[in-house]
């Protein structure tokens, strides 16, 4: 589906930012690469040591920077290289997701996942699914309407 440059960009291409842990999901995404699994090109990966390091500021700043969807993914509970990073993250994400939903941010725009180093295929389908969900929701005009002044 290559579009030539001149054609007006009609349909909306969502921009997804993914915060991933380096031990599991980043390596899982590498595996998706080595196994040549094709998935949507809309995701931009930011590597972090652990889901325990992923902070709610990052997610808010990503939305402020025009992201239409955010993926946060790390090791399955029990697999964390730092033993408990993802357990704390799980609680933090649940509370943050509920608060964002209460503040009116659609849950589909913020997807949490566990993708281990062996699940390249799961990473590909996760990105595709989030991209399609967010494409259906359309651009995140609400957050884009929050201007600096």
């Amino acid at each position: 589906m290559s579009k030539n440059k001149t054609e007006l960009k009609t349909e909306f291409e969502p921009r997804i930012i993914a915060f991933v842990c380096q031990w599991c999901t980043y390596t899982g995404a590498d595996l998706a690469g080595t196994s040549r699994i094709q998935y949507a090109p809309n995701v931009r990966i930011i590597k972090l040591p652990c889901t325990g390091r992923i902070d709610v500021h990052f997610i808010l700043k990503a939305f402020e920077q025009g992201a239409d969807g955010v993926i946060v993914s790390g090791c399955h509970p029990g697999d964390c290289h730092y033993t408990s990073g993802n357990y704390y993250a799980r609680r933090r994400f649940e509370m943050f997701k509920n608060m964002m939903n209460f503040l009116g941010i659609d849950e589909k725009r913020l997807q949490f996942a566990w993708v281990s180093a062996a699940e390249g295929r799961k990473w590909g389908s996760l990105v595709d699914e989030v991209t399609n969900n967010v494409r259906a929701l359309g651009p995140f005009d609400n957050y884009k309407s929050l201007k600096i002044f």
Partner: protein
Amino acid sequence: MARIGVFVCWCGENIARTVDVIRVAEAMKSIPGVIVSLDYKYMCSDPGQKIIKDAIVNERLSGVVVALCSPLMHEKTFRTAAKEAGLNPFLLEVANIREHCSWVHEDKEEGTKKAIEITRSVVERVKQNYELQNITVPITNRALVIGGGIAGIQAALDIANGGHQVIMVERTPSIGGHMAGLSETFPTLDCSQCILTPRMVEVARHPNIKLYTYSEVESVHGFVGNFKIKIRKKARSVDINICTGCGICQEKCPQKKIPSEFECGTGFRKAIYIPFPQAVPNKPVIDREHCTYFTKGKCKLCEKVCGPKAIRYDQVDEYVEEDVGAIVVATGYEVINSDKFPEYGAGRFKDIINGLQFERLASASGPTEGKIVRPSDGKEPETIVFIACAGSRDPAKGIPYCSKICCMYTAKHAMLYHHKIHHGKAYVFYMDIRSAGKGYDEFVRRAIEQDGAIYVRGRVSRIYEKTINDGNGNEVKKLIVKGVDTLMNETMEIEADMVVLATAVKPSPGAAQLAQKVGTPYNEYEFFSEAHPKLRPVESNTAGVFLAGCTQSPKDIPESVADASAAASKVQILFSKKELERDPYVSIVNADKCFGCFSCEAVCPYRAISREEIKNRKGEVVRMVAQINKGLCQGCGGCISICRAKACDLIGYTDEQIWAQIHSYPADEAEIETETGDEEEDK
């Protein structure tokens, strides 16, 4: 102002095929701070690295971004190159535009746009990097080997012979593992105990090796060079220092009918037992579930007959702490249970056994002293059917992988059967023969041509039992094996006396729990995950943890031994330096901002955070702040996201770097390239 160099790699055509690398390099020029931006066919090759080194020197670069494959592959390579050129290695970052971009998107336009944004985000990130030095941490020159099979033994001996202390922990009462239970070993058919027992004795006698048998690893704390291991010594109920190993207690013990784990169910043992004659340590252990004293409270016969009075009924589990610098995991394998095969009678027919059981029957020290007989009636089997790939390469059974060793040991079994029962007929149902080792295929050819094994290329669909009379009037139970011969393309039905399933190999039970204790990733079948399948097969992603033998994937004895020696050499490399250089990714606390709530102390998995008193000039404690022990901190960042005032930050993944990366993705649709094209607007 930053002086950044961007180097985009073609990776032959792995990247260039679906990403216009020239356009990527061109787009980077427009970013403020980028001095040089070029592309090259093979950046990781020597000429490629030379380009970077020259650019660092000539352009006095303060930061380098290399856009190519995953940092897990070549980050170290390029950082050493940068170091040689005089640039602090932590001022170099890798942008992953192969695994995360070119290999996963076919559309060249999208791929290029994405590659530009990925590289640009890493350029913005590098601007925030600052010079770092590796942290040096003292190393305890002692290694822990988990598992006493051939892999564990080999690794322990190599490390011990290298002059370092080794702690070996074996779960069963004796080391030796599955190899001790084999009869002969392919391809040379030399007797398994004969080549193994000297090594076991060498382990027991080695001054540098401290052996914990009938013990398990309870917990692992700390990190490479400074692991703190807690070992649970299960109560043997025998004091092995006094016991002479005479074996009288074993003879006299009234409990006779306990299936022996070592014999895989083909033989029995007593309640107080030495697993097998050549066991090391050759001392008994009391099985408390079956011993009448422990279950009903009376008997104590073994105590009475014991000369040196070595029996200790009151012995309890003991916990021991050991400090080690490296861990070699050699927990070996287990074969899957036969009840996974309902189509083959799922363990109902006594004469269907698995490979390990056949080994016990064929072994001279086995329950039948080497005579191959039918477990049901003890008669010599006239016809045996061996079924290869029982469970392996069979996604329906959940095991899609090949267990690698079954083709060889099945050929060996056919050969042993022929040597012992000359007129016996051996059928082998196989899919493909995988005999890729040295002298392996000749071995299989010999089994077929000289020992008359009938190799049938096909699968066995069903086995059922039928009683027929054997021509001279008495009723005999036969196993009717219905199979197909795909080469002759005809179905077959064989009346067999015995069937041997070459069942699939899986990790020894409890491997996942051990992986979680040690903190290393494992795959969905619970095999430990190696750091890199080709480049680092015996290392795990957790620094200081090495893998040997079947704990990583099914292997035969030669490979396990090679693995073990490789792991041992990796440990030697680690111990060759007095201190260990660790990457400097640790958390640092700004005492000004810390208000002493110590939520960080609660979430730190390494207990690396302690409380420091801030005193005023008069020496009174004014307030308490968090303090991070650089040696223990592993850089997970848990403390940073729990700290509300961001009083701490993680070197290598600072807030500034991540903020810069997030900010590098343009807020509105302003294409990066239009920024380069803005000269036209200004004209």
